[in-house]
Amino acid sequence: MSLSATTAPPSPAAPPPDASSRRRRGYLLNRLDLKYSPYLYIAPFFLIFGTFGLYPMLRTAWMSLHDWDMIGDHTFIGLDNYTELVSDEYFWNALINTFGIFALSTIPQLLMALFLANLLNQTLLRAKTFFRMAIFVPNVVSVAAVAIVFGMLFQRDFGLFNWLLSLVGVDQIDWRAQEWSSWTAIATMVNWRWTGYNTLILLAGMQAIPKDLYEAAAIDGASQWRQFWQITLPMLKPTFIFVVILSTIGGMQLFTEPLLFANGSIIGGNQREYQTLAMYMYEKGIYNLSTAGYGAAVAWAIFMIIVFVSLINFVLVRRAAK
């Protein structure tokens, strides 16, 4: 323990009674400072975590054990909310929707990001900074603006995408009326907004790969393609997994895009085609005042799902590290 090493050992003999009390006070303060100020330094984190992290979580857990009316009575009902949740078809529907949109957004997005990052990493590319900035711009746009604009592009009657499709002879699609089409539309918004962000992280990872590896490979006669597969990709694994974890968290929390795509209807589509878990939690916990306890149970279910998915990620990371 490094702290004890710097602490002056207390003198074995009591100070003479006529020693100045000021000196003694100084000594005391010094001791207090050494002992307690470290706690003070780390306190802000615990304060903020306790107030905004731990307390809401515990409170939500407590709520989920009640029949909780937001502006009325609360009755303790044990685990009833959770048993109801297991057989709630709309909860499972939301879960499937969330994972469906997650798959449609994450997989193409990361492939695209990998491709773009590799392109930006080419030594021959000119105006690098410009391209790097340009690719990040969508991420700066407010999510609500993105959702509203894409909501118009995916309009049934006068939407741009339907007009483009009509040029190649495809019939008008009501994007909001089926699962595949609504998921595609929402995934498009997510992809548009986040591809650039992931590209930059992957690019940073690529630039951390030592150049001499490539030089050695080039001398050995390895093609560009082979260098990418056998040097870039393996060396990029940790960065890639980081990006996957970030996308997972984002995907599980998807809320604004589908909500605005549904014109603000919390059930997400006439037959809940694209209601995500976060929307279902909002419907039960906030929109519907008298089922706040059930909404809290949904929130905890989402938490458990994220923990589960993170565990899978964690196992993958460990395997990758070996």
């Binding site: 323990m1 004890s4 307690y36 706690y39 780390i42 306190a43 615990f46 304060l47 306790g50 107030t51 307390y55 009316d69 937001m70 502006i71 009325g72 909501g151 118009m152 309009q155 049934r156 009657d157 006068f158 939407g159 009501d174 009326a177 089926q178 014109n263 603000g264 209807s265 919390i266 059930i267 589509g269 006439n270 037959q271 419907e283 906030i286 929109y287 519907n288 005042l289 008298s290 089922t291």
Partner: protein, 429 residues
């Protein structure tokens, strides 16, 4: 000092710090309770949308010397969560709070959050308002929660130029004569469609909104607040009338991008307009379409969509003074002023007879005498009992099922099944 004690001490310090912080947060409240009968220095009013109170609160300040702070929230969707937070935490609510129809019905289930206005306002004013509107302001336990402000009386907005192109009459009385009932509306729509090949009405959910409130019977709930969605004749009538019109519908549900875009493109020739909708129709249609819209009476007579009340939260420190302010804002003169300023339709009987109100015409809508049209429509509104989760059942069960049928996602029977099933969960409270 061993490592473990150090660790536990660290944890204890952190915990203590957290407790102190939360304690501080909890202690920061009301030590400034007013003395008995003291006149408040300031009253706060919370409203959403545009209720037209800007000038009125200034008048009230001058009359009484009490400062009034008007807090306006544009969107109802933003207003409701704020209000819920105030009530759930017991602080922050304004002294006078505007409650929209859906919110009021839901909040009635917990009447203790609201002051009983019966002893606070003068007893004669009960007869000043539309009787059904006054009744809706009462909670099941007899508490008077809200004083009536406006009502969303219904009319039909129609495009004169499109009617003319289809060979239909364009003058508003002649147009109204085309549809004394919903059947007439349907037939006119079919004629229009035959002539132009285009849809007549924006969506069947808009039609159902009109029909629901003309029933004069219980809708999703009976008088004891049991959910009767699957057996209610009123709901069934609205369902049948609306779903029968799928052939003349543009399938553009209210507020969707297809809907707001449809105004400029002329995808539909009619839409249902509560008085507060006129401004939205004008905005969506744009300056280029000024004078092309007109307003006619609604089929079947009367109808209601939206409307609000003013309430005083139990947590207000100045309930008596707040009630006086609410009374002032809802009296006949104020309601006419508010109508002239921003268009909310009066519920005060005297205001409805007021000359300035009746002679009001709307320039954008071909100078239609909207005061007269809506005023007449108000008189025909049938009082209905709306249960606590009326809004949720309508928005999240009734209308989605109807739209699923309209878009061909489900057969009529399957859609009805979807509605009755979802109505049970949405309507539970």
């Amino acid at each position: 000092m061993s490592l473990t004690t150090r660790r536990s001490r660290m944890a204890a310090t952190a915990l203590a710090a957290v407790l102190v912080a939360s304690g501080l947060a909890a202690c920061g409240n009301d030590d400034d309770a007013p003395a008995e009968g003291e006149k408040p220095a300031k009253l706060v009013v919370d409203t959403f949308g545009e209720m037209g109170y800007d000038e009125l609160v200034k008048q009230y300040e001058q009359q009484t010397g009490i400062k009034v702070e008007l807090r306006k929230t544009a969107q109802l969707g933003e207003y409701r969560p704020k209000l819920v937070r105030y009530l759930a935490t017991g602080k922050g609510a304004a002294d006078v709070t505007a409650l929209e129809e859906g919110i009021l019905n839901e909040f009635k289930a917990n009447p203790r959050n609201w002051a009983d206005l019966n002893p606070l306002v003068s007893s004669e004013i009960a007869d000043d308002y539309l009787p059904w509107k006054w009744e809706l302001g009462k909670a099941p336990d007899g508490r008077l929660i809200g004083l009536p402000t406006d009502v969303g009386s219904l009319a039909v907005c129609y495009r004169k130029d499109l009617f003319e192109a289809a060979g239909l009459p364009t003058e508003r009385d002649a147009v109204a004569a085309l549809w004394p009932d919903w059947n007439g509306f349907h037939q006119t729509g079919q004629k229009y469609k035959q002539a132009t090949g285009k849809a007549f009405v924006d969506s069947i959910t808009a039609v159902s909104n009109g029909v629901l409130f003309q029933q004069g019977t219980d809708l999703f709930y009976d008088k004891e607040n049991n959910i009767i969605a699957d057996s209610s004749p009123g709901v069934k009538a609205a369902w049948d009338t609306a779903t029968s019109m799928v052939d003349i519908s543009a399938k553009a549900s209210t507020w969707s991008p297809e809907w707001s875009g449809g105004f400029k493109q002329g995808t539909f020739a009619t839409t249902f307009c509560p008085s507060w909708m006129l401004g939205i129709v004008a905005d969506n249609s744009g300056e280029a379409n000024k004078g092309k819209w007109d307003v006619a009476a609604v089929p079947g007579g009367g109808g209601n969509w939206g409307g609000s009340w003013l309430a005083v939260p139990e947590q207000s420190k100045y309930q008596k003074e707040a009630a006086k302010l609410a009374e002032f804002l809802t009296n006949a003169t104020s309601q006419v002023e508010a109508f002239k300023a921003k268009g909310p339709l009066p519920t005060n009987l005297e205001a409805l007879k007021n000359e300035a109100f009746l002679s009001y015409t709307n320039e954008y809508f071909s100078n239609a005498p909207t005061g007269k049209i809506f005023g007449e429509s108000v008189a025909q509104i049938q009082p209905v009992h709306l249960g606590p989760k009326h809004q949720a059942v309508k928005e999240n069960a009734f209308e989605p099922a109807m739209r699923a049928f309209e878009n061909g996602q489900a057969s009529k029977d399957k859609a009805w099944e979807q509605f009755t099933k979802d109505a049970q969960t949405q309507g539970a409270f």
